[in-house]
């Protein structure tokens, strides 16, 4: 460290910090925009990139235009809603994971821990088995996800309060229960129609994304994420231990449950249109934290942008790499794990100063 007077050192550190944060955000946003654009130009159906960009521009400038050509429809009716949905879902899951890890003061939790995904999956599997499709399916998924959170809440309530550990344990119980029921449903499902649908959907996919479905899921994803973002300072408070948080004026139980409900809205919306997508909610917040630190005021937006970009890249691989649709869960693990391992090693090396 170069020697500086006290008066100079403080603003200099602040300037460096600010500059670094700005650079990181700019990079993340740029990556997202690039991922988005490339995604729209890439696919099994060959559309030259120039033409694809032209079509996107036409789609934005004149949204009510009749789409007649196959390339128009592919880019604007198949790829565009899918990429948008992937981005929103990735951002939502990442923000949820970041918020949850803050509230639980534990970097190992993911939205699954509240049983939301499993509850939502149960709703979906049940709907598929009963032959319910379309919007009733989405509604059922959403409500079962919320039901799971409510069950966790009821189960963890002791003496009118719910401790963090109790919530985690209750979440484990409820999610295991729903998981087991989903397995049971798989067991009795028709192997020609329902079962493959259930299995495929459980592995997560944006293949069924249309503008309709995207617009159905979008409010939940966007509103939930916005509210979580508005709570970014509060999440800093909630990430302190119980006594500290309460002494600063936080009603920890109530505020934590508000966060859970917002997460349930986000994850429920996401599962309803694209099945269970794991990994994003636990890994992206970590990566974002390694980049911008713990302060939720930077962490939440960073996680959102990183999650969106990551999910868009992953989904593009899933739909364009081979003739078959690769399930998302497979790719998120294959791609995410090595990246995350590298980040961790880098961080560890930094920390231990070696």
């Amino acid at each position: 460290m170069t020697t500086m007077t006290q008066d100079e050192a403080v603003p200099a550190a602040r300037r460096i910090h600010l500059a670094r944060q700005t650079l990181i955000f700019a990079l993340l946003l740029a990556l997202l925009v690039i991922a988005f654009t490339v995604s729209l130009c890439v696919g099994r159906f060959s559309v030259p990139p120039g033409r694809a960009l032209e079509l996107i521009w036409q789609g934005i400038s004149d949204p009510s235009r009749e789409l007649a050509g196959i390339d128009e429809r592919i880019v604007l009716l198949v790829r565009a809603p899918r990429v948008v949905l992937a981005a929103l879902a990735g951002a939502g899951l990442a923000i949820s994971g970041a918020g949850l890890q803050g509230v639980f003061r534990n970097p190992l939790v993911s939205p699954d821990i509240l049983g939301i995904s499993q509850g939502a999956a149960f709703g979906g599997a049940l709907a598929i088995m009963l032959g319910i499709w379309g919007f009733p399916l989405i509604a059922m998924v959403f409500f079962c996800g919320m039901a799971a959170v409510i069950l966790v809440g009821l189960l963890s309530r002791i003496n009118g309060r719910s401790e963090t550990v109790t919530v985690i344990l209750s979440g484990l119980v409820i999610s295991s229960m729903f998981s087991a029921v989903v397995s049971l449903l798989q067991f009795i499902a028709d192997p020609n129609t329902s079962l493959p649908a259930i299995v495929y959907w459980l592995m997560g996919s944006f293949a069924t994304a249309t503008w309709e479905r995207t617009l159905v899921a979008a409010p939940g994803l966007i509103l939930g994420s916005c509210f979580l973002w508005m709570l970014r300072f509060r999440l800093n408070i909630l990430s302190l231990d119980e006594a500290e948080a309460r002494s600063l004026g936080a009603n920890t139980t109530r505020e934590r449950w508000l966060v859970f409900c917002l997460i349930a809205v986000i994850v429920g919306s996401q599962v309803a249109v694209s099945g269970i997508i794991g990994w994003i909610g636990i890994v992206i917040p970590h990566a974002a934290r390694l980049l911008v630190g713990h302060d939720h005021r930077a962490l939440l937006p960073a996680a959102a942008v990183l999650g969106a970009g990551f999910m868009v890249c992953i989904d593009t691989l899933a739909r364009a790499a081979t003739a078959a649709e690769i399930p998302l869960g497979v790719i998120t693990a294959l791609v995410g794990a090595p990246i995350f391992a590298t980040l961790l090693r880098h961080q560890y090396r930094e920390r231990t100063g070696s």
Partner: protein, 367 residues
């Protein structure tokens, strides 16, 4: 109509097939005992012809009924087979078939051993190529099991023959196998001369409503029947049966699309209403067809397969293949089920109401 010489040759061949079938089965110590090797290479030993048969394999339920000419011997079937009975004509021909239990197995071929043993079967027909986990519970319960394999026409004929022997109706299979052989050869003869550029790209979708699935060519019966009828498998580059997205289908741009008969709620409008699929060659030329549901669904291998091949061939190459499908169906159903098909029955089986306006479908209408 079939020429007399063909009839005589057919009769001879039928007798030869019966004799051959008899020779396949080793002379048993007891005149009644039936011993054979199943497709899992296991020895199957029956003290006498099976009276109570459970078929966990879906199409075999209707095959057993056809071979026996009644529902008497079938005491258990797969729920997916039951749905075909209920939705299709077999439930009309054999109303009592709707009462045959289907709780003996889950749809995914995992047996319910309690229900199975309660049905007290002499013989259980099970897949041999889906792992030991679905076989062991049956054999451990001491039940005689016959394993069969999926995929090719040879295997299909072979296991149908085994089944007919096992239920003590060896004379039945001869004419059924001979029929299959005759139709296959007839189609092959005309199809081999079709040049490659005249073979349409045909896409069969095993699933459509949940996710969309298509299959590669290797070991796939649908791909084989498409090739037999002078078509090319549009999804041939795939490995096995996998999920595909609409963009990929647009890229393949098939000339003909066949929809599965498994999804009751699926009809050809699903293609025409879709913004992407409606722009495929198939949709634009109205060559989108749902596979018929007869005594069993016409997609997988079963006792009515030759009808399925003829239907496919007539649609893929109407200028080359001109089978009188309605007449063939009436003959077949008389042989298989001793049933006189009405014109209304045929219309229903072929989904004439829904796809009567599809290209070249008018040929299937009643005269």
């Amino acid at each position: 109509m079939v020429p007399l010489s063909l009839v005589i040759a057919t009769a001879c061949r039928r007798r030869m097939a019966a004799a051959l079938a008899a020779m396949l089965f080793a002379p048993a110590a007891f005149a009644e005992e039936i011993v054979f090797k199943d497709q899992g290479n296991r020895e199957v030993r029956l003290a006498k012809a099976a009276e109570r048969v459970v078929s966990i394999v879906i199409p075999m339920a209707s095959t057993v009924i056809a071979l026996d000419g009644s529902t008497r011997k079938l005491v258990g079937m797969n729920p997916t087979a039951k749905s075909a009975v209920v939705e299709g004509i077999l439930g009309k021909i054999f109303p009592e078939a709707k009462d045959i239990p289907s709780d003996v197995t889950a749809p995914n071929f995992v047996p319910n051993v309690e229900a199975l043993t309660a049905a007290n079967p002499d013989l259980v027909i099970q897949w041999g190529d889906r792992g030991a986990d679905i076989v062991a519970p049956i054999t451990n319960a001491g039940l005689t099991t016959m394993l069969i394999l999926y995929g090719t026409e040879e295997l299909t004929r072979d296991y149908m023959t085994m089944a007919s022997k096992a239920i003590g109706k060896p004379e039945r299979i001869g004419e059924l196998v001979e029929w299959r052989d005759r139709v296959q050869k007839d189609i092959e003869a005309k199809a081999t001369v079709i040049p490659d550029d005249k073979r349409p790209n045909v896409l069969y979708l095993g699933r459509a409503l949940s996710d969309i699935s298509a299959s590669g060519t290797k070991g796939n019966y649908n791909a084989w029947s498409i090739a037999l009828a002078g078509g090319k498998n549009a999804s041939g580059e795939l490995n096995g049966t996998v999920s595909v997205n609409k963009e990929q289908i647009a890229q393949w741009n098939p000339d003909v699309i066949f929809l599965n008969a498994f999804e009751a709620k699926l009809d050809i409008n699903w293609v025409y209403k879709d913004p992407i699929l409606s722009l495929t060659n198939a949709a634009k030329s109205k060559r989108v067809y749902k596979m018929p549901l007869g005594g069993y669904r016409w997609d997988p291998p079963n006792q009515e397969s030759p009808l399925s091949w003829m239907w496919t061939a007539n649609l893929l190459h109407p200028d080359i293949f001109k089978y009188d499908l309605r007449a063939e169906m009436k003959t077949a159903y008389k042989t298989l089920y001793n049933y006189d098909l009405t014109d209304g029955d045929i219309d229903n089986i072929l989904w004439l109401k829904d796809q009567g306006a599809s290209a070249d479908y008018a040929q299937f209408e009643a005269r």
